[in-house]
Symmetry: C2
């Protein structure tokens, strides 16, 4: 049987354990060779995986998968990264049920990114694209920096894009 959740419990749990982020990774078949994905994530130890499935049940979107394996054990996450689901379900939920910690500021920045991306703002020009990437960096301030290797490749591509924009301001 799935654990039944209640909205205020979810807000409290996400105030403690949730995160709102923008993942940026290299993807060569994309127009700017970078893909951006806003992500709402809750990570739990294996013993509490049922909570992640309960969140999935509650929001009726997203998925549960392995997040990290190390000598402490296996950690799982519940994650929503579809812009449609974020715009339709996750953002309205936290608009209605306000977070009480400073994570509310993280959510507000995340909300702005989701709404802009839902409107395809990032696909309208390279300048817009880079603007969203910057908003993602601001969002990350509170969280951990991206891992070395991956971050480096992303940074390289960002430098290329910024130089491209200087030479072609109408892109």
């Amino acid at each position: 049987m799935t654990t039944q959740l209640n909205a205020q419990w979810i807000v409290g749990f996400v105030d403690g354990e949730g995160s709102f982020g923008l993942d940026v990774h290299v993807k060569n078949d994309m127009r700017w060779k970078l893909q951006m994905q806003p992500e709402f994530t809750v990570v739990q130890n294996e013993v509490d995986i049922q909570i992640l499935y309960a969140l999935k049940d509650y929001f009726k979107c997203g998925s549960v998968a392995i997040n990290r394996q190390d000598h402490y054990g296996t950690r799982y996450h519940y994650r929503v990264k579809s812009i449609k689901d974020l715009q339709k379900t996750i953002v309205p939920f936290f608009e209605k049920h306000r977070l009480k910690t400073k994570k509310r500021i993280e959510f507000q920045r995340f909300r702005r990114i989701v709404l802009l991306m839902h409107d395809e703002y990032h696909n309208k020009s390279l300048q817009n694209f880079l603007e969203i990437v910057e908003k993602g960096v601001e969002l990350r301030e509170r969280s951990r920096p991206a891992k070395g290797q991956k971050r480096t490749k992303v940074e390289e591509q960002l430098q290329i894009l910024k130089a491209t924009l200087v030479d072609n301001p109408n892109l």
Copy 2:
């Protein structure tokens, strides 16, 4: 203005961020030279200190203080360690509003310790005292081990007490 909290939000937040523990430390003026204190604790970064004061306001007991200072900044805790307050306020709250993660098991063990200590069970014999210490160890299984120095002195005194009990089973 203090943030207003709601019971289900608190349960969700404690499922994520709270802990129930038994602190055991050396105190030479105590009968067995060890003092045990059950502790309900919520730790937050400095930016969210207002949440800790909101918890104090809600429960009308406990205190907010510095928990740890390191290169990540200052962390604060809200903590209740008075057995009377734990028995009268904190335990009944989580009996009424059930935790949803495996922290519920931690709470159930904690509840047993608080109720026994409220009845002065640990002061009735050395055997009872050591029984409560053991229950505290079980409780800690999920959490981090106590710090080196402190732990060593406590362990030393526990070994002395266990040997004492073997020689004087009626203590």
